[in-house]
């Protein structure tokens, strides 16, 4: 369905096999509802680090999900942007999880979270300069080597910037892709949050993003605050429905990249299953409309009429 409309790059050398449908972040509290419903979502995504125990309920549920639905594994602990070497023990754990579940995609973040063998449990910012680029490229290479597949790298939500940055975020990502052959996970909410916080145009960012490498999109809600001079400060809190401004930006991204796997992320103040499903249905409607537009433009009737 979506394959014929995918860009050249991903059609021929896709790193992942997620369907161009709406998926949701899996929460164990929803398991019974998912089992009881028609489970009409395109895929489920999990955080790798929550499934690194030896057994029990987490694996029992995940095996059940994996049997019936495509799975995306999203790492939050590899510290790709860290200045120190990767935690090899952790990379081995990720590798063994990926081997066990053979997910349709594995993704990580352009961020760091570990320093001096201490895990900070947050996605911390990377300056966009040559030093950081060398670290990120080396780490992505090492992860891809270990997993035997390209990974998707996600653009971060930013609250401040570094004076030492030499690249724009997009150029930095483009350079990582060029050097590692990784692919991208475009978090549209992060684009909106960063653009608001750092006062640039989210539309321009979407228009310049290297869409031919995008194999998944993330959508989430954010929290709103202001800084000491009253400037808006958005926080990537994954705690609310996707706001209208983000849906509009998503539509703009779809117009450039075509229908692509889209995740609704809702990790805090987790809502009832129905609420989450409604968000996925909404994303599915955007994907459907995009598909219709592309099919319409490609239809033979149109070409015949004009030809």
């Amino acid at each position: 369905m979506g394959a014929h409309s995918a860009p050249e790059h991903s059609r021929e050398r896709a790193a992942s096999s997620l369907p161009a449908r709406a998926g949701v972040g899996f929460k164990s509290a929803h398991f019974a509802d998912i089992e009881a419903s028609a489970r009409d979502v395109g895929f489920f995504e999990i955080h790798a680090e929550n499934y690194m125990g030896a057994g029990g309920n987490p694996h029992a549920q995940l095996m059940r999900l994996r049997r019936d639905s495509p799975l995306s594994i999203h790492g939050v602990g590899l510290s790709v942007g860290g200045a120190e070497p990767l935690d090899r023990a952790h990379l081995r754990r990720v590798k063994s999880l990926v081997e066990q579940y053979d997910p349709a995609a594995f993704s990580e973040h352009l961020a760091w979270s570990t320093q001096g063998a201490r895990f900070l449990n947050d996605l911390l910012p990377v300056p966009y300069n040559a030093t950081a680029l060398a670290h990120v490229v080396a780490h992505v290479d090492e992860i891809q080597e270990a997993l035997g597949r390209p990974i998707l790298l996600e653009n971060p939500a930013a609250y401040l910037r570094f004076r030492s940055s030499q690249y724009l975020e997009i150029d930095f990502l483009r350079e990582v892709v060029r050097r590692t052959d990784c692919r991208l996970l475009l978090d549209v909410t992060n684009v909106y949050v960063s653009a608001t916080n750092l006062a640039y145009s989210a539309e321009d960012y979407i228009d310049a993003f290297p869409m031919s490498y995008v194999e998944e999109i993330h959508l989430a809600g954010y929290a709103e605050d202001v800084d000491e001079v009253g400037a808006p400060l958005l926080i990537d809190a994954h705690c609310a429905p996707v706001p209208d401004a983000v849906w509009r930006l998503y539509d703009r991204a779809l117009a450039r990249c075509g229908p692509v796997a889209t995740l609704i992320e809702w990790d805090n103040d987790v809502p009832p299953w129905r609420t989450l499903l409604t968000q996925a249905t909404q994303a599915e409607a955007f994907l459907e409309r995009r598909r219709a537009v592309e099919d319409g433009l490609k239809s033979e009737a149109l070409h015949d009429d004009l030809g």
Partner: protein, 257 residues
């Protein structure tokens, strides 16, 4: 590979963990004003995220001391001891010891042991799967040779001995029933198992946790019995065995030929 133009990540972490410090050099807001509020978001994410992880890991401790007290106490723990791996379900391994040294919590002397029990429950939740020893195999055991027999415990089996009724406290707060007061003046030894997917928390007779610890080390039932009677002269072996067997605490028993 670090140059002077870079923000040192260890300096970034120091500023994250110490709210008295200014944001690290080299970070800025887009409008040129101070980045304090912006940096505080990272500070808050780190702290709140880890405090939340502890709250999820120790829900009964949280109920016992209340949200505000728990979060203040957890925040002190976070500052003192960050996770060593990204697997947050392992975080809090030293929380019970921290709580026992935490001066403001002294009024609740049973709190550290409840934390130990909750940590054991969490470990059991993620433990490897294994089939518990079927009852008919146990019934077929030649009891006259039990003294020299050894056992393999289920990977989820944990024990916590306490001078306080930690199982009664745990149960009372786990159930949605009307709160019934717990008589604090007696000790309890907790047994945690997860033979299938559901966690089971029960009590062993006094000396039972010493009994299990000896078996865990691969030693015989005879040696376990010795250790248990050293703790409680009137150790009730039958009650202890019955509880261990019924809760699926064993995956294998072997009798020397």
């Amino acid at each position: 590979m670090t140059t002077s133009a870079d923000v040192d990540q260890s300096a970034f972490v120091r500023a994250l963990l110490d709210p008295e410090l200014p944001p690290p050099n080299g970070v800025e807001a887009s409008h040129g004003f101070a980045p304090e509020r912006r940096f505080a978001i990272y500070r808050n994410n780190v702290c709140v995220g880890l405090v939340d992880a502890l709250a999820e890991r120790f829900p009964i401790c949280l109920q016992l001391v209340g949200d505000e007290f728990f979060r203040a106490m957890a925040q002190c723990y976070v500052r003192e001891r960050l996770p060593r791996t990204p697997m947050l379900f392992e975080y809090g391994d030293a929380f019970a010891t921290f709580v026992s040294d935490f001066e403001p919590a002294r009024a609740l002397p049973y709190l550290p042991d409840v934390a130990r029990l909750e940590y054991a429950v969490g470990q059991a939740y993620h433990a490897a799967d294994a089939a518990p020893l079927p009852l008919e195999l146990i019934r077929a055991l030649p009891l006259d040779r039990l003294e020299s027999a050894t056992a393999v415990l289920h990977p989820s089996t944990h024990v916590v001995a306490s001078a306080y009724p930690i199982v009664s406290i745990w149960r009372r707060h786990m159930s949605d029933d009307e709160m019934t007061p717990v008589e604090l003046e007696h000790s309890e030894e907790a047994l945690v198992t997860r033979p299938e997917l559901a966690i089971n928390v029960s009590t062993l007779p006094c000396g039972g946790s010493a009994f299990v610890d000896v078996l865990r080390n691969g030693r015989t039932f005879g040696e376990a019995m010795n250790a248990a009677t050293a703790v409680a002269a009137d150790f009730k072996l039958t009650d202890c065995l019955r509880e261990l067997i019924l809760t699926g605490a064993f995956v294998a028993l072997s009798v020397a030929q």
